[in-house]
């Protein structure tokens, strides 16, 4: 009896071990809540820093395009317009290209080895730093497209989008470099969601006599649509926040113009350009612009997550 009792006593955990266990768990808990703290911190800090500018200009900041540190007048319309135009137009070009590439990778047009090589090539494109893409855009892409832009202006100059004489860096180049950056995102997410469509659906469609592309358009793409949409929204968020490549190629001019062939501005390029040297109420106005950018990308990202949850495949 005595012996059994000691055995039982020894089987209890030591106090220290128990404490370590509790400490370990709580440390992990604290570390995981860091994410929430940082996220809230970012939102609060940017909001409070922009408060001065916010109370002075209110929502007028969003629709005026005066940006004059000398007269202390600030409005971010040009930058906001530039952000939206470059991101949406680049997405418009990227979606067909990316989805087309994803279909090419998931169908069996060429042997699997080649498709895998192309797939990983496209993913490697995502790993190239955006500042290097900007360097490439300045020295390779801009000279390459110059003749094409002159042609665009000469023949389509009556369209407001091409109404200015192309002189070096401009918004259209920023759109093109964004396409290069977004392609890997859209392609890899579209490929993953196309791969997740069950084989049964394809076999059923083939079985009732549908051709390959009839199957793709009527069965496979609709089934993968939610995933593709989420990928597109993620790419949109990335395009809005993309800084370096765009800053280097867009020309950084606050003069508003409808033309894509004239230099432009985005919120992030404005931040990159002016933040270092700004002082006084300009800093607050820049924080206001940063706040607008953050809200835009938060809305897009949250909507993307909601879309994934709401419409994820249920086969």
């Amino acid at each position: 009896m005595e012996e059994k009792l000691t055995l039982f006593k020894n089987r209890k955990r030591f106090g220290i071990e128990k404490n370590i266990d509790i400490i370990f768990k709580n440390t992990a808990l604290v570390l995981s809540s860091f994410v929430a703290i940082i996220l809230l911190g970012i939102i609060l800090v940017v909001f409070f820093q922009s408060f001065e500018s916010f109370s002075r200009y209110g929502l007028k900041f969003l629709v005026t395009s005066e940006w004059n540190p000398v007269k202390d007048e600030y409005g971010a319309f040009t930058a906001i317009y530039g952000t939206l135009v470059t991101s949406f137009l680049s997405l418009l070009i990227t979606i067909p290209l990316g989805v087309g590439t994803a279909i090419f990778i998931t169908e069996d047009f060429v042997p699997k080895v080649f498709r895998e090589i192309i797939g990983s090539f496209v993913e490697l494109l995502a790993a190239i730093p955006s500042v290097v893409l900007g360097l490439w855009a300045i020295f390779v892409m801009e000279p390459f497209f110059r003749a094409f832009f002159v042609f665009l202006h000469n023949f389509f100059g009556w369209i407001p989008l091409f109404s200015t004489e192309p002189t070096g860096r401009n918004s259209l180049l920023a759109i093109l470099i964004l396409v290069v950056m977004l392609l890997p995102i859209v392609t890899s997410i579209a490929r993953d969601s196309l791969n997740q469509v069950p084989k049964k659906l394809r076999n059923a469609a083939y079985g009732i006599g549908a051709s390959r592309w009839k199957t793709i358009f009527s069965v496979i793409l609709p089934a993968a649509l939610s995933g593709i949409m989420a990928g597109v929204l993620l790419a949109l968020g990335r395009a809005m926040g993309e800084t370096m490549a765009v800053t280097m190629i867009i020309g950084n001019s606050n003069a508003f113009s409808w033309s894509l062939l004239s230099p432009g501005y985005t919120i992030s390029s404005m931040l990159a350009n002016q933040f270092g040297e700004a002082d006084g109420s300009q800093v607050s106005s820049l924080f206001y612009a940063a706040f607008v950018l953050m809200i835009l990308s938060l809305v897009v990202n949250i909507f993307a997550q909601w879309l994934v949850k709401k419409f994820s495949l249920k086969y």
Binding site: D21, V35, V131
Partner: protein, 297 residues
């Protein structure tokens, strides 16, 4: 009888051919920029590589034809990325452990997972703006303003979501039988995690973390007004509290200079940056493919 044979002229077959070629064209357009880009950087940057590049300071633009080297920027990138890793990896792995091992899918863990995804989507320049407001403009770090330390902190914000996600997903893939077995023989929770589940998920976590570090090494936007740039050698520990150069910011600054010598230096820095990032990516890809194969057997 005819209907049993493939008929080229049928509209469905013509349509199929058309769309097939369209998707092939899409794939070509998607990979052409990469091939152009990588070959151009390797050709243009590779031709600038000299031994002095790795040992000299860059000369301030404009005063002479010789641009010097990129030694401070190279060391600076290593230091800033290391600082970011030192902050982000423990926090991220710890947070991932909580999400995967302790949380029971309640409101808190769902909120954190949601927050991780949102934080991953925050534009990188916002991380820089945040650190500027929090650390640079307040001079909270012993009175220093722009510093390598602040730059590392900004980068760690970008790395954190990646590290948490890969830890969380890596741990979730570990079969529950391993946990039951460990707890069943009397191991405590922390022993189970540290000795059983973390080691068996180590490879997938390490792959994700390394990819995250590689991505952070090329980030520029968070650094341009936190770490700023410096032309001078990094000589000691105290330099952490002063402006610090990095390859990414060097490329940005020197690409916009009108001088050819500085532009060439930017290409050389791009060569080193791209080569190291791509080789890390390819290596971890091969490693991941290799582990997948061994698991299946």
């Amino acid at each position: 009888m005819n209907s049993l044979y493939y008929q080229k002229r049928l509209s469905r077959n013509i349509g199929d051919k058309f769309f097939t070629s369209l998707s092939i064209i899409c794939a070509l357009i998607a990979i052409l920029p990469l091939i152009f880009l990588v070959t151009y950087i390797l050709y243009k940057g590779g031709s600038q590589i000299t031994p002095e590049l790795f040992t000299l300071e860059p000369n301030p633009p404009g005063d002479d034809l010789d641009a010097g080297g990129i030694n401070p920027a190279l060391i600076g990138t290593l230091i800033i990325t290391t600082i970011a890793s030192i902050i982000a990896i423990p926090v991220g792995v710890g947070g991932g452990i909580y999400l995967a091992e302790y949380s029971k899918g309640g409101a808190f863990s769902r909120f954190i997972r949601f927050g991780v995804n949102v934080l991953a989507g925050v534009p990188s320049i916002i991380a820089g703006v945040f650190i500027y407001a929090l650390i640079v403009s307040t001079k909270i770090l012993f009175g220093s303003m722009y510093s390598g330390l602040a730059g590392g902190m900004a980068l760690s914000i970008l790395m954190l979501p990646t590290v948490i996600k890969t830890t969380d997903e890596g741990l979730k893939l570990v079969p529950n039988e391993l946990r039951y077995a460990s707890l069943g023989v009397g191991a405590s929770m922390y022993t189970t995690i540290l000795k059983v589940t973390l080691p068996s998920a180590f490879r997938s976590i390490a792959t994700g973390v390394v990819l995250g570090i590689a991505r952070a090494a090329g980030e520029t936007a968070p650094l341009i007004f936190t770490a700023l740039f410096s032309y001078y050698y990094i000589t000691g520990f105290g330099d952490l509290f002063y402006e610090m150069g990095s390859l990414a910011v060097l490329i940005y600054n020197f690409a916009l200079e009108p001088y050819d010598a500085q532009n060439k230096l930017a290409w050389a820095a791009s060569f080193i940056l791209v080569l190291s990032i791509l080789s890390v990516n390819i290596f971890s890809r091969i490693l991941a493919a290799f582990t997948e194969k061994t698991k299946r057997v």
